[in-house]
Symmetry: C2
Subunit: 324 residues, 2 copies
DNA sequence: GATCCGTCCTGGAACGTTCCAGACGTTCCG
DNA sequence: CGGAACGTCTGGAACGTTCCAGGACGGATC
C-alpha cells in the first residue's frame, strides 16, 4: 500500500464540486469573495477527496516558500539544538516553517547544505554554526536573507547576526568569583574559534579591571596544564564552555579536591550538562529564546526590504549553582 | 544587498548562450545527445550568469523531489540525533538529501510536521520517534513510503521498520551481570513506551532463563524505590536507558556506595552520556550506522515498488565499561 | 539524385498552483 | 429605464523545469 494513485489536485476538487479550479483555490485560502454556501461545500468536498495543496506548485508560482532554512553544524551540541528549537518556535508564530540541514563541522558539507536549502527555495536562512565559509555566506546572502545566530564570527557584509555578549558573559564570571573571594582565577580553553577568543578577551579584561591582571592564567583543559595551575595555587577555574568545565571538574575530583571548597569551577552556555554535572555547574546563560525570536524578526525585516546590516548583541546572565 | 534581482533561469542561460532552453537543460544534466563543444559552452555561460536550477520547478515537473524527510521528536536526545545523522549519510550515498523536522513530544506538533514534509513533496519519510500517532503514520504511508527507525512501536500496516532487538539487548545485560556473579539484579524504568516495555520483558525472561526468576524486581528510578532495592540487597541495577542509569549512579554515589564494588549499574543506548559518566557506564549499543543504511534501503525498495511490509531487527551489543 | 540514418538541436505541452482580467446576474440609483 | 456597482464566479496565463515529438543538416547508401 505505497503511494499508488496520484494525489488529488485543485482540478479534481473542482470537478467533484462542480466549480472552477480558481474558485476552489480562493475558497481554500479563505478569500472573502466566495459565498459562504459554496465555500462550505468546497471545503467538504476537498476533505472528502483528501485534497492537500502542493507546496511545490505554490512556491513555484508565488516565488516564496514560507520556509526558513536552519543550518547547524552539530546535532549533538545541546547549545546549538536549543537555539534551533527557539528559531523554530519563533518562526511558527509568524506562519513560517523551518527545515533543518546539518553538516557536522565539515566546511564542504555545510556549504553543500546551504546550497541545498537555497535551491529548495527557502525564504531565509538562520545559520547556527561558525563553520560555514564566509564566502558561502556572502553568496547565500545574495539569494536570500541570512542571519547568524548564537555564533560569534567575523561580520560578513550583507548578513545580520544575533549573539550573546561573550566578553560581558566572561566578565560576569570573573566578577562572581571575585566576590566569592577568589584571586587566582584561571581560564581554561582549547578553542581558537571566535566565541572562545572573545570569552578569553573578556576574562583578561575583567581580571585587569579587578586589579588582578597579574593573576591572568590561560591554559588548555588537559591534566598536565590543570596540575600546573593547581600547583600555582589557583582556586577558581573559568572554562570556555560547559563541556570543558566538566572535564575540569572530573580532573579536580580525581585529584582529590573538593568542589567548590578547594576549587571553584564555572562553565559557559548553561547547557543540560551544567545542570546534570555533580556538583552542578555554575554557568553563563544566553537568552536562547530571545535569540530565536530576534533571528526570525531580522529575517522578516530583510524580506520587507531592509538592506543595512544589523547585529544584535544580547546580554548574558550568570546562573550560580553548586560548583562555585 | 539582499535578494534584489530575480535569479537566472534556463531561459536566461539559453539566451546568453544562443541556444534553446531545452538544450541547456539537456547539457546541464549531462545528456549524451549534446555535442561536447556546445555542452562546454553552455556550462561556462551557466556558471557566468550564476545559474542554479530551481528544485521547486524540477520537483513539480518530475513528481519526485529527491528529498527524504526525517521526523524526530527531540533534538536533545543524542540517541535520536545520531540515528538521524546515520540516515543522512546513507541517503547522501544514493543521491538523496534529508530535511529534518522536529516536534518535541507533542503529538499534534509531530503530526503537523509530518504533513508539512509530505506537502513539501518528500519522496520518503524516516520517523525517529515513537510519539507520532499511528493513524498519522498510516495516512502518511498512503502518500509516500514511511519507515520507523530505532523506535519500537506497534507495527502499523504499510510501514516498514528498522530496530534493535530490545529484548535481546536486555538479555545481554542480564547475562553479563550473572557472569559477574550478581544474583539480585533489578530493573529500573520509568517508561510505559514500547521500547521500555520490551527491555523490561527481555530482562524478566533472561532472569527466568538464568534461574533467577525469584529475584525479578522492577522499580522506578526515584530515590525511594532505589533505597528499597538496596535494602533488599540488590547488587546490580539495569536501567532502561543511559539517562536513568546516570540517575541511579548519582543516587548510589550520594548514598555512599562504591560503583561497581557495592553496586553495578548498566544502561542502554550507549549514548555520549555513558562514555562521560563517572564511572563510565556499561551500556547496550545499537548499530546506529547500520540502522540508517537499512532505513534508506527500505525506502528505496518501496519506491521501486515493494508493497509487503518489512521489519528489520538488528542485534544489540554490550559495551562493558567501568560501572559493572 | 533520391532516400535513409544519425547527430544535434528546437518548440510546445505539461506539472499544480496563483492571480489577473473579465463575465454574468442582480440590485440600486438617478 | 439605462447604467453603474456589487457579489460571485471563470478562463487563461504564468512560474521554471522536463520530456516528447519532431526538424535540420550532413553523410552514407542505393
Amino acid at each position: 500500500m505505497s503511494s499508488s494513485r496520484p494525489r488529488p489536485t485543485l482540478l479534481d476538487v473542482a470537478a467533484a464540486a462542480g466549480v472552477s479550479k480558481s474558485l476552489v483555490s480562493l475558497a481554500l485560502r479563505g478569500d472573502p469573495g466566495v459565498s459562504a454556501r459554496t465555500r462550505e461545500r468546497i471545503l467538504v468536498v476537498a476533505d472528502q477527496v483528501g485534497y492537500r495543496p502542493s507546496l511545490t506548485a505554490r512556491t513555484l508560482k508565488q516565488g516564496r516558500s514560507m520556509l526558513l532554512g536552519a543550518v547547524i553544524s552539530s546535532l549533538d551540541n545541546p547549545y546549538h539544538t536549543e537555539i534551533v528549537a527557539s528559531v523554530e518556535r519563533a518562526a511558527e508564530d509568524v506562519g513560517l516553517s523551518v527545515v533543518l540541514a546539518h553538516g557536522s563541522k565539515d566546511r564542504g558539507r555545510l556549504a553543500d547544505r546551504v546550497q541545498q536549502l537555497l535551491d529548495l527555495g527557502v525564504d531565509g536562512l538562520a545559520v547556527v554554526s561558525s563553520w560555514v565559509p564566509e564566502q558561502v555566506l556572502a553568496a547565500a546572502a545574495r539569494r536570500a536573507p541570512v542571519v547568524m545566530v548564537g555564533r560569534t564570527a567575523a561580520p560578513v557584509p550583507g548578513i545580520d547576526s544575533v549573539n550573546n555578549d561573550d566578553e560581558q558573559g566572561a566578565a560576569l564570571v570573573v566578577q562572581h568569583l571575585v566576590t566569592r573571594g577568589h584571586i587566582r582565577i584561571a581560564h581554561v580553553t582549547s578553542s581558537v574559534r571566535p566565541a572562545g577568543l572573545a570569552r578569553c578577551r573578556g576574562y583578561e579584561a575583567a581580571m585587569r579591571r579587578a586589579g588582578l591582571g597579574g593573576h591572568v592564567r590561560v591554559a588548555r583543559p588537559d591534566r598536565a596544564a590543570l596540575d600546573a595551575l593547581l600547583d600555582e595555587g589557583t582556586t577558581a577555574i573559568f572554562a570556555r564552555n560547559d563541556v570543558e568545565a566538566v572535564d575540569v571538574l572530573d580532573h579536580a575530583l580525581d585529584a582529590g579536591l573538593r568542589v567548590p571548597a578547594d576549587l571553584a569551577v564555572v562553565g559557559y552556555d548553561d547547557t543540560v550538562l551544567a545542570r546534570r554535572a555533580r556538583p552542578s555547574l555554575t554557568s553563563v546563560q544566553q537568552q536562547r529564546e530571545v535569540m530565536g525570536a530576534q533571528a526570525v524578526a531580522l529575517l522578516g525585516q530583510r524580506l520587507a526590504g531592509r538592506t543595512a546590516d544589523v547585529h544584535e548583541v544580547l546580554e548574558a546572565r550568570l546562573v550560580v549553582r553548586a560548583s562555585s
